[in-house]
Amino acid sequence: MPKAFKTLFQEHYSIDSYGAYILPKELILQALQILLEKDNYTFLVDMTAVDYLNQKNHPERFAIVYLLRDHNFQNLITLKTYIDSSLATQSITSLFKSANWAEREIWDQYGIHFKNHPNLKRILNHKEFVGHPLRKDYPITQGQLCHKSDDLMDEMTPRLKTKGYSSQEELMFLNLGPAHPASHGTIRTFVALDGENITCAVSEIGYLHRGFEKSCENHTYNQIIPYTDRLNYCSAIMNNIGFAHAVEGILGVDLPERAKFIRVIIGELSRIIDHLVCLAAILVDMGALTNYWYLYNPREKVYDLLSKLTGARLTNSYMRIGGMSHDLYDGFEDDLKACLKEIEQGVGEALKLIEHNRIFHDRTQNVGIITKEDAINRGLSGPNLRASGVPYDLRVTAPYYHYETFEFDIALGSVGDVYDRMMVRFEEIRQSTRIIHQAMQRLPGGAICVENHAISLPPKKEVYGNIEGLMNQFKLIYEGVKVPPMEYYRAIEGANGELGFFIISDGSGTPYKVKVRPPCFYAMAAYPRLIEGSMIADAVLTLGSLNIIAGELDR
């Protein structure tokens, strides 16, 4: 527990009914410093703002919420500060580098200013955008045309100065992306080149900003599930699970055993296919096309299984609040085994091609290195963090769905380079396979949804057969699951790292606010610093190895 923080600040903070420490905004920077330096709260999980315009009992309209974990990732602490009408507060970028982009996002979405921020500008919305869309009084459908892209020189020029370039003449400037095959769609990195070496780099994101968080505010909880599919669309069901898990946390329900095991099985399968795409894509970027077929074809096989199970190949929407839409089908186990076999084979063959391949080693080892300390300070998580040697895996540090009872190893790297990030993923595929085998063996029978018809739909027989069932169905569909008022954060280990949802519910069937903690966002923020000093070709691999998925990055 945060001892130093508690002794030093006990007169200044109050604890709200949801367990958050409320501090005056003048003290936030100091408090975070104490937490970081004395209490070892080294990992800034996420930060976000809240607009309380439509909620009473709050002293000010806006508040900022900070979520931190301690150095062994066991404890989570929530700090909150209200922002007065000056709409400004201290930046915490001097303590946490990960706060840089997080604060820019808050400025962009809520219009709260951060003093001493190195470069406070919009991040998700475009340059010509007027207003702050996540404010409650911004109309959800009010789009604004963008005519011209940002030239990014406002970020590049100061960056060049820090590197000692006074004039730009000796350098060449190049845009990597957003429409570039190696940028995987929509990420733009603007680099200053000295020959083929990158001297400075700045990244721009937001090209796939789709207003997930705003859309959540006018859909019921179950209607949000399809939106979550499209966060990290390489492992859609994993996002379903993450969101449902968070809402179930607020509801305080415990899933039936069968549901938990199905979530483990399908979740791990999603992790596998996510890693498969990541590895296949980075190998293509390296010119190793053969590996692509070996790794992608098993994924195709999993698509067949998933479409049999859920009706969709990619965007499955399989989970529901309190369970899932339907049970496994007859013959699922055989199909799953066949899939796993093919995956094992594909991974084996791909590894055979690269494991002892000199070109592969030369291109990936000691490229794009991020150290342990830096990775934590920048908020990396998941395989990217584990590749740097930090054994942080929510399945182990804060187990859910009985993960503590499964036998599996955490894959760890030692250097934190492209090679480690890839190999960690290869190993995780193996470990996930182990988990699935165990879960299949232990899969119990029984219900797949909580038996509370205020949360999950009643069986059709009851809907057609008696008035109560009909009422339940009607209310659930039209009004949504009623979630008691709470401010709550809960996370799972997504394919890319800590995938968390910070949800503010208000008792109705629609969330008041949803904020995703997207693992990609923080990995991407670190990216420009990782590639400075390396060559263009290395930059491509570094990006691939971080597995940036735009849907989750930009939301």
């Binding site: 955008f129 005519h147 789709r210 735009a550």
Partner: protein, 172 residues
């Protein structure tokens, strides 16, 4: 503007024969540019890989330079921020060129009816074939390709596609 042989021969037998020869060649070797931004692009990966294999239809030479492509496939959500880039890419492609708008997002904004997303890319560039689905199945992508081939088969060299009247919201 028709130049070369067809300009000299006008609407004669030679032109029609030449038309069908060239259409045949074009149909069987489309060079697509994938403007893939989101989930739909992941489905395109399947279209390109061995199971669905777009090369059966002669369109496997995926280009990432608009200068080298004659088929633009938009697979994914186009946000307002992305729109000027899409337009630039389209403008950089040389005639003749065709456009497939794949997926609910590209066609209509999909379920992103909010402040971020263009409600249909046909307000920025002209579209030849729309594909439904969120995401469309690989078969639907292939079907769209066949549709484009049908359009090509009916087009004459004399027709000047560059002269099509189109004015989008980003055209000054």
């Amino acid at each position: 503007m028709a130049v070369g042989a067809e300009a000299i021969f006008g609407e004669s037998l030679i032109t029609t024969k030449l038309d069908s020869a060239i259409s045949w060649a074009r149909e069987s070797s489309m060079w697509p540019y994938i403007f893939g931004t989101a989930c739909c692009a992941i489905e395109f990966m399947s279209v390109a890989s061995s199971k669905y294999d777009i090369s059966r239809f002669g369109a496997e030479v995926v280009r990432f330079s608009p200068r080298q492509a004659d088929l633009l496939i938009i697979a994914g959500t186009i946000s307002y921020k992305q729109a000027p880039i899409l337009k630039k890419i389209y403008d950089q492609m040389s005639e003749p060129k065709w456009v497939i708008s794949a997926g609910a997002c590209a066609c209509s904004g999909g379920f992103y009816d909010n402040y971020t997303t263009m409600q249909g890319i046909d307000s920025i560039i002209p579209v030849d074939v729309y594909v439904a689905g969120c995401p469309p199945r690989p078969e639907a992508f292939l079907d769209a390709l066949l549709e484009i081939q049908k359009i090509q088969a009916t087009q004459s060299l004399l027709e000047d596609r560059a002269k099509r009247v189109f004015k989008g919201v980003l055209d000054a």
